[in-house]
């Protein structure tokens, strides 16, 4: 239970001693981080109410800049760690910050099963369409035929749609936006934080240093403009042909279902187990 009555400022979360942050100029991660803190403020969530779990990557460095309960783990494993934290300590808001590599490539199996389990954790995925931290190699979300430091002649693999995957697997809240649409980031994180069950917010983020530079989008404003042009609101999808949707980022809320989260189901299992024990 977060203490909603308490007044909190987003600034309470900022670890000033570590600022300015080390992300490149034009990187979208500062925008996503600030949006998350605004969402905390709006939700009345204080630093001690939240556990931020980070994986490895440029986005995984976010905990360096935070005052909160923070847990920085191995590459790809933020979700199962977050799962353990939430089950053991259900009164905490647990939010896992992961890149596209972290969440969906090396950690793809955990994404599927966390979604299916509908564990009460927020997954905030910053998708910069490549591996920023290791120098811009392709990931499972790199658009088909894009150039990266390991796909010089074009990436032969089609991109994975993280939101559709998570929704299909059973996540009860799923939304996507981009760093261009900054106000929506805060809104979706806010919705995710008050949701019961697994909630995934994917934010497409500019990486001018690598993905941008290799794909003729090396200037930050250029990349932002590209994100805007490539985005299509989910409401418009039904009017468009498959051809028109190719390489587009569909934005909006994919799923927002009330129902049974893992924790609510598990409480039922525990009471069944206790009843059986008593009747023994």
């Amino acid at each position: 239970m977060s203490k909603r009555s308490r007044e909190v400022s987003w600034k309470a979360f900022l670890r000033e001693e570590n600022l300015p942050h080390q992300w490149c100029p034009g990187c979208g991660y500062g925008v996503i981080l600030k949006s998350m803190l605004y969402a905390f403020e709006k939700g009345g969530i204080a630093p001690k109410d939240v556990v931020v779990v980070t994986g490895i990557g440029c986005w995984g460095k976010a905990d360096d800049y935070l005052y909160a309960n923070t847990v920085h783990v191995t590459h790809g494993r933020a979700l199962p760690v977050a799962t353990g934290i939430k089950v053991a300590n259900p009164s905490m808001k647990v939010i896992a910050l992961m890149g596209d590599g972290d969440s969906a490539t090396i950690g793809g199996n955990h994404l599927i099963h966390s979604s299916r389990r509908n564990i009460d954790v927020v997954a905030l995925v910053a998708n910069n369409l490549n591996y920023g931290m290791t120098g811009g190699q392709y990931s499972c979300t790199t658009p088909l035929y894009s150039r990266t430091s390991t796909s010089w002649y074009g990436d032969p693999e089609p991109a994975l749609d993280i939101c559709r995957l998570s929704e299909t697997a059973g996540a009860s809240f799923v939304a996507r936006t981009t760093v261009y649409h900054a106000a929506m980031i805060e809104k979706y994180i806010g919705m995710a934080l008050s949701h019961e069950g697994f909630s995934l917010v994917e934010v497409i983020s500019p990486c001018p240093t690598y993905f941008g530079r290799y794909n003729k989008l090396s200037k930050a404003p250029q990349m932002l403009k590209w994100l805007k042009e490539q985005s299509i609101p989910i409401e418009r999808v039904k009017d468009l042909s498959e051809e028109n949707l190719k390489e587009k980022f569909v934005t909006g809320v994919f799923a927002d279902k009330k129902g049974h989260s893992f924790l609510s189901r598990y409480r039922e299992i525990q009471s069944r187990a206790r009843n059986e024990l008593e009747s023994e």
């Binding site: 001690k48 909160a68 923070t70 920085h72 353990g84 053991a88 199996n109 206790r274």
Partner: protein
């Protein structure tokens, strides 16, 4: 009060020991010959308001118990060779981030999927060195069903006391053994809980250790903010690339175990001081060794058995002392010879050290140990 004695599997006693130690969380992925641990945990934990989570793989299993422990629970997992291999990276995480947890490995024959239902003790070096980077580690090994229970309590106590993962290196012979087990009660055993920081600190440093080299631990939601970090970090839990801070951390993580060897090392002695020939062993091999010693004594040989309940850190100094003046040492293992290397390093040069080894998926027999004993005697 009447003692509660139950006839049960080693794997079941492991769960009972964990419950007595205060475990409320298990995450795992089933694998022979450890699955009975998961099965019993799944029955018992929901009854006490705890949680059994069946994860998507062993990487997720160890990650989840690390998370649960950070969340404030005492947590464990159980696996065998293939799963133990998958867990290694995150065992390193538990070491680096200093997260108490217990990892049970009911060893089976390998490599790879090997002989899934057959015993081995061939992961004992992997237990020591399976993950990358400099570190020390605690590994215990039970030889009886009673020890599955009792040492499991010790495993949790050490994990909590030293804020580290503890590897519980059982093997198929012990995990699938049925014996009487005294289920001790809460007031019969000492239960250790992780140290908390004092109240009212101006600032809590998550990785600032006390004199015992162990930093107090905080549960999210209490008065201080927690920080856990997998990368090389300073006392604040912030990543650092300073050589001084790196050296300080690596050394402390190593020393908090190595400098407390006296507390961590447990062994059982059977005629160790007065014997002429000494058998040094651990886990399932102990049973054959003790029988071999009895039979050899009937033949007029003076044979003692030293059982290592703690395998890591290795009791090198003690073995070096106790082996002085012995006419020969035998190290039976269900592997091609792993711990024998440590024994050789510890034992004075002139004393012969011979292995009795099986690596065909069959348990060691007293006969094989007696045979090697014969070789040592005739040297």
């Amino acid at each position: 009060m009447k003692k509660k004695v139950r006839f049960m599997l080693g794997n079941e006693a492991i769960v009972e020991g964990a419950l007595l130690a205060g475990a409320t969380f298990f995450a795992g992925y089933p694998i022979t010959p450890s699955s009975e641990v998961a099965e019993r945990a799944s029955r018992k934990l929901p009854q006490i308001g705890g949680c059994y989570l069946q994860m998507e793989d062993e990487i997720a299993s160890i990650a989840a118990i690390i998370g649960a422990s950070i969340g404030g629970a005492k947590a464990f997992t159980a696996t065998s060779g293939p799963g133990f291999s998958l867990m290694q990276e995150n065992i390193g995480l538990a070491i680096m981030a200093e997260v108490p947890c217990v990892i049970v490995n009911v060893q089976r024959s390998g490599p790879s999927t090997g002989l899934a239902t057959r015993p081995a003790q061939a992961d004992i070096m992997q237990a020591r060195w399976g993950r990358h980077g400099d570190h020390s580690v605690i590994a215990l090994s039970p030889a009886t069903v009673q020890e599955c229970f009792d040492l499991m309590v010790q495993a949790f106590n050490m994990a909590e006391k030293y804020r580290c993962p503890v590897l519980f290196m059982a093997d198929e012979t012990v995990g699938h053994l049925r014996e009487n087990c005294v289920l001790r009660s809460r007031d019969e055993v000492e239960i250790v809980n992780r140290k908390r920081p004092p109240e009212g600190l101006e600032e809590y440093f998550p990785y600032k250790a006390d004199d015992d080299l162990v930093p107090p631990m905080v549960t999210p939601g209490s008065d201080y903010l927690t920080r856990f970090h997998s990368s090389t970090h300073n006392e604040k839990g912030l990543p650092t690339s300073s050589p001084q801070e790196a050296r300080k951390l690596i050394k402390r993580l190593y020393d908090k175990i190595e400098k407390n060897k006296d507390d961590i090392i447990m062994y059982r002695e059977f005629d160790v001081t007065k014997c002429e020939y000494l058998v040094i062993c651990f886990g399932g091999a102990v049973r054959a060794a003790r029988q071999a010693a009895i039979e050899a004594r009937e033949e007029g040989l003076s044979v003692g058995v030293l059982q290592l309940q703690t395998v890591w850190p290795f009791p090198a100094e003690y073995i070096s002392e106790v082996s002085k003046g012995k006419r020969g040492i035998i190290v039976p293992e269900m592997n091609m010879g792993q711990i024998i290397g440590e024994v050789r390093k510890a034992v004075p040069d002139k004393i012969p050290v011979l292995g009795a080894n099986r690596y065909d998926g069959e348990p060691l027999t007293p006969k094989e140990i007696i045979q090697v004993l014969g070789e040592v005697v005739s040297l």
